[in-house]
Symmetry: C2
Subunit: 357 residues, 2 copies
């Protein structure tokens, strides 16, 4: 029984890093006889250039039918002048919402080989291993009404709506509690319940859910404090669960604690465990086309894809071991370069992972 | 001509730290013949306990009439069960909005004497001096409609509204551009203009304003990237301007980069330069009543008050010099304690500043 993987290279460094991950996927496909079939499509700025819209029907169709999706990145200054509705980001947001990929898993892990890349003191981050569970299809990202209106007197006013229903909170809560059960059984729910009513409901539902997970220790933290605690003592966290906007901010902050955001994968899952996988870093337009981007976050995203959506744990572990091996060999792309590293290009890094498999 | 200062000790460690700042203010009042007269009132949990509401009319009246306000902190677990409308935080938010204190200045400065307190590597933070300008009376904190409603089918939905008008953006923008003119002439406006319409308007107005400040270099950054860049390379920033919610998160993150949030003051100003001054840290209920809290952020807030609202620059500088001196002497409260420091109580720290004046 074959399984289908859709590749969406996207913009900026996207095509370069997805190309390396694709080679790795082909290799494990053979090695482990996975029966994967591949297809690809345009999304984001690349789709705008090709078709005029950031998420063409053809891409959405293919995405719906795929068992899993591997995405590079979207966006870049070239399309920054476009109006909101047809910006590259709408391609990504459209995929998330149309496929109901509400469960976004963003690990922030410090690779021991790269400990010195962090801007934090080694004792503060060594061994860091946090999982941020971010709600991805609701909240202020998708809330209605939204827009810019004219007030009496003629001045304009911009507005967006931050909204969550009980069921939306409950389903992301369950993802987070289950993830915590697999890990160190500590879940911190982040909100702003001292100011925002929507997050009072969030906190209430998390409390209610915690009765179903007595083995998980639930705590609550205001988002401003969470932003501080991540800097002060990040190892106090195991799993963090939060809404779309706070999750966007905190997951990037947490990723940067490791100093190597070029290493961090992510998964976005729906209730059928269909998933879209992408590196945490963005399209990095400043280095696009130079062949120097780090492909490892995308390769590790492919490993997550094998694990969560393609039931190929062995292949996932093989890729992760290969990545660890190339790091041990001292190979480093520019973003994770250190004094004793050997600098390699995007392609050289990809080839090294292939060779290590 | 006398000037009036209203002291609002508030909750938790508030009374302890405001008491020390009060002594310092009395001293400079004499030394510099400032003609300050003092009054005090309840706010937050203390006001709830005394009167049933977090912002009694009497307190608001006194606040309106005062030339400047010095606040300790509000909130604590004791009042966490109360409904939103009568929580301690509403006392603080009510003061901000009734007095139209829209311009919140939050410096994040690393004191050279405390460099080792940071969780970041010394080379990343040494010499750090950022000013965050946060809009304080608008955005999602005050947006209407807000609440929890019942959907068809019976499940509840929480909602808040993120809203800014052109004039609200313009007035905080001017504060930020002017602050940048006094400093290194670099202003970074933080938004989420790739997703939120309200921040598209924000960015547009900032661009428009920049024509009036040709000497200031304006840049824009998405909030997720800003949360990362603050960790990666905070010294790239001079002044940051952003809305209420993003400002809440980023100013706390920035403050924590210094490792000594117990040192950081803040000012909240309206168009008449009337202001409320408070430490960046909160009410710290876990150490309240023990006499070990750090009073320096409150004492430095008093200095900011003298500078911005009471036209007493000399007195402000004298206080800042005294604080620097006690740090040079090695005096440290528990929160900033280091191997070679001499541990002191809240009162001892206050007395030391008095002696240094
Ligand atoms: C590109 C952008 C719309 C997106 C987001 O804000 O969700 C990105 O920052 C992310 O976190 O995946
Ligand atoms: C206490 C709370 C309402 C307040 C805020 O969110 O503004 C605080 O966190 C602050 O930053 O002053």
């Amino acid at each position: 029984m074959s399984k289908s993987v859709l590749l969406l290279p996207g913009d900026g460094i996207g095509p370069e890093i997805v190309a390396e991950a694709e080679k790795v996927l082909h290799k494990v496909n053979e090695q482990f006889d996975l029966g994967l079939v591949f297809d690809s499509a345009h999304v984001g700025g690349a789709a705008i250039d090709a078709t005029g819209v950031p998420l063409p029907d053809d891409t959405l169709d293919k995405a719906r039918k795929a068992d899993a999706i591997l995405l590079g990145a979207v966006g870049g200054p070239k399309w920054d002048g476009l109006e909101m509705a047809i910006r590259p980001e709408k391609g990504l947001l459209g995929l998330r919402s149309n496929l109901e990929l509400f469960g976004n898993l963003r690990p922030a892990i410090l690779y021991p080989q790269l400990a010195s890349a962090s801007s934090l003191k080694p004792e503060v981050v060594s061994g860091l291993d946090i999982l941020i569970v971010r709600e991805l299809t609701g909240g202020i990202y998708f809330g209605q009404p939204r827009g810019v209106r004219e007030l009496e007197g003629g001045e304009r006013q911009g507005y967006n709506t931050y909204v969550y229903s009980e069921s939306e909170i409950r389903r992301i809560g369950r993802v987070a509690f289950e993830a915590a059960q697999q890990r160190n059984k500590k879940l911190c729910s982040v909100d702003k319940a001292n100011v925002l009513e929507v997050t009072v409901l969030w906190r209430e539902i998390m409390e209610e859910l915690s009765k179903d997970y007595p083995d998980v220790e639930l705590s609550h933290m205001y988002v401003d404090n969470a932003a501080m605690q991540l800097v002060r003592a990040p190892k106090q966290f195991d799993v963090i669960v939060t809404g779309n906007m706070f999750g966007d901010i905190l997951s990037d902050e947490a990723a940067m604690l490791t100093g190597s955001i070029g290493m961090l994968p992510s998964a976005s899952l729906n209730s059928d465990k269909q998933g879209m996988y992408e590196p945490c870093h963005g399209s990095a337009p400043d280095i696009a086309g130079q062949g120097i981007a780090n492909p490892l976050a995308t390769i590790l995203s492919a490993a997550m894809m094998l694990r969560y959506s393609l039931q190929a744990e062995d292949a996932a572990q093989a890729i992760e071991a290969a990545v660890s091996k190339v790091l041990d060999q001292g190979l480093r792309t520019a973003d994770i370069m250190s004094d004793d590293g050997r600098k390699v290009t995007t392609r050289e890094m990809g080839e090294a992972v292939l060779a290590a498999l």
